[in-house]
């Protein structure tokens, strides 16, 4: 729908991140945890792409892999025209200023032995040649931008509340004028009252600095608030990717439908009439994913084809991608049993 005419800022194709499993006496390689298994997505300049999914579906791994905080198994990642998928870590280091990350746990992700000024200023020392005073000015500027009092500069992370710590993490991420920021569940560890503050801060900063976000979260209502487009992940794969309003209005993939039906409705009358899709069973282990569609073990609509053939992730409507056998390009509605029969015949 609103595909940008220019090339996307971040282009991920066929990204795979497998962690080897070693077992036995000799620690032989017995398999892989397929945390991220063949995902493709684009993030356009100045937009926010939400990445949602349940715990353990690989969304954080995907976020880290996109920034090459892992050595990826396969696939290609292009950020701002540079292919970083196989570049060595030392060259990558010089590209780090462009791409930053805000981490989930604001306590653990800050070095406990460094002051705020140290944490925020360290990337400046590494990547820019500023005098001591210029650096301090920049640190103060960043602290102002995220709403931290300047007098906090010489304090240690443990002296702050969760929301303040996350602000430190955001200031740190902004230090080098990044274009692209991966927000890895930046609000998951915060109180609800603080969540809104931090999300609003992220939105303000996006507007001011023209930032591009990959916003990872399991909070569907927060993603609805902040994201322009939303990708839904299940067991290491993206099952659906669509513009926000379209995804929330007409989810096509059965998993997305189930996920959205789980979001509580504030109106108790409507809530009592709403139909919930209750998924049964557990998520399969990413070390031993099912044959065929990853979702086939829990999908209410699963048929034989789902257990044999992995559905292709394809564009079913402009800007609306999904991976389900029962969704056809022509029908914009959820494919029910009729579509399933058609596909079988």
């Amino acid at each position: 729908m609103n595909e940008a005419p220019s090339a996307p800022l971040v282009r991920v194709r066929g990204l795979k991140m497998h962690f080897p499993v070693h077992a036995g006496l000799l620690r032989r390689h017995v398999g892989d945890i397929k945390a991220v298994d063949d995902i493709s997505l684009d993030v356009n300049e100045s937009e926010t792409l939400g990445l949602v999914g349940e715990s353990g579906c690989g969304k954080s791994t995907a976020g880290r892999a996109v920034l090459r905080l892992y050595d990826i198994t396969d696939g290609s990642i292009t950020i701002d025209g540079t292919d970083i998928s196989n570049i060595d870590q030392d060259k990558l280091r010089h590209l780090r200023p462009k791409m930053q990350m805000i981490f989930q746990d604001p306590q653990a992700s800050l070095n406990p032995r460094m002051t705020v000024a140290g944490i925020v200023g360290e990337p400046l020392v590494e990547h820019m040649s500023l005098s001591k005073n210029e650096r301090l000015d920049r640190i103060y500027e960043l602290m102002d931008a995220v709403g931290l009092a300047r007098s906090f500069a010489n304090r240690y992370p443990h002296e702050f509340s969760g929301g303040q710590r996350q602000r430190i993490g955001i200031a740190r991420a902004l230090a080098l004028h990044p274009k692209f920021i991966v927000c890895d569940e930046p609000i998951a560890a915060l109180d609800v009252s603080i969540q809104a503050q931090v999300v609003n801060l992220l939105e303000d900063l996006q507007e001011r600095f023209g930032l591009t976000y990959l916003f990872i979260s399991h909070d569907l209502s927060m993603v609805r608030h902040i994201a322009d487009r939303v990708a839904v992940m299940y067991l290491g794969k993206i099952v659906e990717l669509a513009p926000r309003d379209e995804l929330y209005a007409t989810p096509l993939h059965p998993y997305t439908q189930a996920l959205l039906s789980a979001v509580p409705e504030p109106d108790p009358v409507r809530e009592s009439q709403r139909k919930h899709i209750i998924l049964t069973g557990d998520v399969p282990s990413p070390a031993n994913a099912p044959v065929g569609c990853n979702f086939c073990t829990r999908c209410p609509k699963a048929e034989d084809i789902c257990r044999q053939i992995d559905p292709e992730f394809r564009e079913v409507a402009p800007g609306h991608f999904t991976a389900c056998h029962f969704v056809t390009d022509t029908t914009r509605k959820t494919a029910g049993s009729t579509a399933g029969n058609e596909a079988n015949t």
């Binding site: 905080l69 280091r93 010089h94 780090r96 930053q100 981490f103 992700s109 032995r113 360290e122 990337p123």
Partner: protein, 335 residues
Amino acid sequence: MLTYTIRRLLLAIPTLIAISLIIFLLLDLAPSDPTANLPLTIPPDVREKIRQSLGLGDPIYIRYLLWCKQFFVNEPLNMLEQWFGWDIGGDRLRVLSWQTRSPVVDLIVQRMPQTLWVVGMSYVVGVLIALPIGIISAYRQYSWFDQVGTFVSMVGFSVPTFFTGVLVIVIFSVWLGWFPSIYDTTHQVTDWQSFLFQIKQMIMPVAVLALFNAAQISRFMRASMLDNLNQDYVRTARAKGMRERTVVLVHVLRNSLIPVVTVIALGVPQIFGGAIITEQVFKVNGLGQLLIISIQGGDLPTVQTLTFIFAVLIILFNLVADVLYGVLDPRIRYD
């Protein structure tokens, strides 16, 4: 921090008094006889007179209080006199060794240098070896370096020094003849040649003890590094685009050193305690050896004084470790 330190020091006083009493009672209960090592030709009544002259006829509380007075009052006064050339006067009886009849503190002062040189050096060498090994082992976990390091530290940890000591003597002194098997404490370092000899005679005892110390500390270092390497802030540092060296040596190492430094500090009293067995094997007549011959000879004042000094050092370095923790880790505040 200062008030904390002072409070801890004040608390140490009753602790130490209790410790001194316990040591005294234990030694008194032990069935040792200071005259047992004397020739068998000495008749029993003479032996009894010797015991009486050593003060063993007095009740135990008199003997304990006497030791307390000698150690806590007379010895410090005596030290002040010696250091500042004062003359405080008064007839003061010092803590005398029953075996040598010389003041115990003088014996300790004589033997301290040997112990500090050999055992202290081995501790320094052990720490210097252990830290890099621990760091590299953790950074390259399960690599061949780590496996070899683990094996060597297990060996160093589990093979006692009386075995490794004798083994290196057999190999390097008997077979190869490179180093002297006996540590010559009368040796004076005056020129280059004698310095080389000093190094040569120190190598074996230092190496044996260093292996033992390094084994322990490298394990601590490795475990602490591994703890920190998986922390989120390390990923943050990488995401900042820091050099790998900065990530490991600044972010990870500084945080990992906190517990290791305290372990190292806690180990320092062992240096003063001397390595009894190793000193014995290499005939280094340091404090450890003094302690063992005093025990053998039933020399209660020496054993009492030495053991008490070790207790003081242990309490002191426990405090040092705690204070260091507070200095190094901003999350810990004492008040």
